[in-house]
């Protein structure tokens, strides 16, 4: 056999050779490490899900905030165009208080004018056609109004009248200010004041401005009105850009007025409001392990020594009712809570075994023979244990909560409040391992309940509402939950209770 064949044969034989081995012996030696590896994997997986959902919430919140930010930064015109709908440009008559310089228009009484949708649309189509001179336009409007006031019934005539002072406006600035004045009205139309053309003409004379109104006055005028300045800006911008013209400003019929009033009523005036909420959060878990009988001190000590509490994660879906008048809210839903502990053993212990008739030593006799000396031999065996197991207590609960939340600040977007109630447990699943009285590791599930009673909840709530209608809000709630009943079965020597202190983050949508 040459050298190459020798190597080849050797390789073949050794490659395929299966050494005899006691599998159970090897397995028992590596099992603690395998458990540790598996536990780490599970933990990694768990944290992946926690971070995934937290990230998802954060991303969606950030995305929503960004879209709101973009919308806020759009010009009113672009905003209107983006909405793809015709704004309700309610231009009503007012009794606006203006200082001495603009005194002529302080008592301007009426002209409820609203853009007619069909006219507005047709106007949009003709946007590119040159607009009429403002003063000519105003005269035309007043002429129309005057003639209408004669031909139509008194109510309609009154409504169709527009600000008389437009007639003799000496500049475009005057026109602007009067348009705003009419735009920013809050009072209802007093038709009796303009029942006739004569009365109308009187008003024209009465409110005729003596000189152009300064820009600063325009601003003041805006401030003195109770409607938001946004409406005024919208109207002005549309007039300036030819989207809306005075021809578009038409009278509301009674039905339209009614519909408009209904539309303008804020939703807060509703008696009650439904909402849905999704939330999730993390809490620090505090475990209370006690020995009520006093006879399991050893077990208590072992468990305290080898087990440690980690954290709790929770998330849920809730539906609720909010009463805006009292700021009270009631909610219920379904809540998932998982408390995690871990058992970690890393110790060495000596086990002494006495052999009654073991060989203690050898001696040589006179015949030079080696003779064993028998006697009691103490054999010491050192046992090293390494183990880490994550114990999970999963609760499925129905929350029954009541809360009160008040709006803070002028924007009414920020709300602060308090929430309290109970969580009714419908299922509890405990999995993992605990140490027993003999310092051995055992499955914990037989020692734990499958259902719990109630737990108590107290939380502070802070909310920030988004959007023009403030229907969606981001909720941030520091919370405390106390689980008064022991998770362990009555026959188990120790009681195991938890308190959770953490924070919830959620999104609430008013329906």
């Amino acid at each position: 056999m040459n050298k190459k064949d020798f190597d080849k044969k050797l390789k073949q034989d050794l490659d395929s050779y299966q050494s005899p081995i006691n599998i159970d012996e090897i397995w028992s030696a590596i099992e603690p490490d395998v458990d540790l590896i598996n536990a780490k994997k599970r933990r990694k997986k768990r944290f992946f899900f926690i971070w995934f959902f937290a990230g998802l919430i954060l991303l969606s919140s950030a995305g929503y905030l960004y879209s709101l930010y973009q919308l806020e930064n759009q010009s009113p015109i672009a905003k209107e165009h983006s909405k793809k709908e015709v704004p309700l440009a309610s231009i009503k008559k007012t009794e606006v208080a203006v200082d001495a310089e603009t005194d002529q228009i302080t008592k301007l009484s009426e002209a409820a004018i609203l853009p007619n949708t069909s006219n507005l649309n047709s106007k949009k189509e003709n946007k590119n056609t040159p607009s009429l001179n403002s003063q000519e336009l105003l005269k035309q409007e007043i002429d129309n109004a005057s003639s209408n006031s004669v031909s139509n019934n008194s109510n309609q005539a009154g409504e169709k009248n527009i600000d008389a002072s437009f007639v003799n406006s000496s500049s475009i600035a005057d026109f602007d200010i009067k348009l705003k004045t009419t735009t920013l009205s809050t009072n209802t139309v007093d038709n009796s004041k303009v029942e006739s053309t004569e009365r109308f003409n009187d008003l024209v004379e009465e409110f005729k401005p003596s000189k152009p109104v300064e820009t600063s006055k325009k601003l003041e005028l805006e401030k003195t009105t109770s409607l938001s300045s946004l409406d005024a800006i919208e109207i002005e911008a549309q007039v300036e850009n030819g989207i809306l013209n005075l021809e578009d400003l038409f009278v509301l019929t009674e039905e339209e007025k009614e519909a408009s009033t209904k539309k303008k009523k804020p939703s807060a005036k509703k008696k009650m409001q439904y909402f849905i909420e999704m939330n999730s959060g993390v809490s620090a878990a505090f475990r209370s392990l006690k020995d009520p009988s006093g006879s399991n001190a050893n077990l208590l000590q072992l468990r305290e020594e080898f087990e440690h509490t980690l954290e709790a994660v929770h998330g849920g879906f809730q539906v609720g009712l909010h009463f805006p008048k009292s700021d009270l809210a009631f909610s219920t839903g379904i809540q998932y809570t998982q408390i995690t502990d871990y058992l970690e053993i890393n110790d060495s212990r000596s086990v002494f075994d006495t052999i009654p008739d073991g060989i203690q030593f050898y001696y040589r006799n006179l015949d030079n023979e080696i003779i064993p000396y028998h006697g009691e031999v103490i054999n010491e065996e050192v046992i090293t244990r390494r183990k880490k197991t994550y114990n999970e207590f999963v609760f499925i609960d129905i929350p029954l909560l009541v809360g009160i939340q008040k709006n803070v600040g002028s924007s009414e977007r920020l709300g602060l409040g308090v929430q309290t109630g109970v969580f009714v447990n419908i299922a509890l699943n405990a999995s993992g391992e605990i140490i027993n009285e003999d310092s051995e590791v055992e499955d914990l599930s037989p020692s734990f309940n499958s259902k719990m009673g109630v737990s108590y909840y107290l939380g502070l709530t802070s909310a920030y509402a988004f959007g023009e209608n403030k229907k969606l809000s981001l909720q941030l709630s520091p919370s405390f939950r106390y689980i008064p009943k022991s998770l362990t079965v009555d026959s188990y020597g120790l009681t195991q209770k938890y308190s959770l202190l953490g924070v919830n983050i959620g999104l609430r949508l008013k329906l």
Binding site: M1, K9, K11, S19, I23, N38, R42
Partner: protein, 180 residues
């Protein structure tokens, strides 16, 4: 009975019975690898335990479309080498100018079992044994062995020749004894 792929998939998920099954299936061959690198079976078992733990730690990185055996074996070899580096001082002998050896090797395999040959390999000095295993069984080149063990290429060649010579002597002796 799971197929190898199913078994490995389950092991990746951390399924304990599958992990036990994997240990059962692959431990005998992996122990052979470990025994070739260590002096006795007790040490080999220690290295095997280390190997198995490493396999479970790194099983997520194993691609299921590839054969598991060579991958696990490579881990066993690396574990064995690390164990050797931990437990022995490295001694670099001078490069030996060796004579050309006769190409004839006594016919020993017909009469000796693999277990006996394995015992003979275990009895080789650690340096010889390691180079012999890496070159003859695992197929590493002397350059690779040099880089792996941080020795020169010449040392690797010299160690291999000495190992082969010593092993042949041992096997021949055993053959003679068996014949008697």
């Amino acid at each position: 009975m799971y197929s190898e792929k199913q078994l490995l998939e389950n092991c990746k998920k951390g399924d304990k019975p599958s992990q036990y099954e994997l240990v059962k299936r692959f431990s005998p061959s992996l122990l052979t690898v470990c025994r070739r690198y260590t002096r006795d079976d007790a040490m080999a078992k220690d290295v095997l335990q280390e190997t198995l733990i490493r396999i479970f730690k790194n099983i997520d990185s194993f691609q299921l479309d590839k054969p598991f055996g060579p991958w696990a074996r490579q881990i066993a070899v690396r574990s064995s080498l690390q164990w050797i580096q931990k437990n022995y001082f490295k001694r670099e002998s001078a490069v030996e100018i060796f004579h050309t050896e006769p190409n004839h090797v006594p016919e020993v395999f017909n009469n000796l079992g693999t277990e006996v040959i394995l015992k003979c390999i275990q009895e080789l000095p650690v340096g010889y044994r390691t180079v012999f295993n890496l070159n003859i069984i695992e197929g590493y080149s002397h350059k690779e062995i040099g880089e792996l063990l941080d020795i020169s290429e010449g040392t690797s060649r010299s160690q291999l020749n000495r190992a082969r010579r010593l092993l042949q002597t041992k096997l021949t002796d055993l053959q003679k004894r068996a014949t008697i």
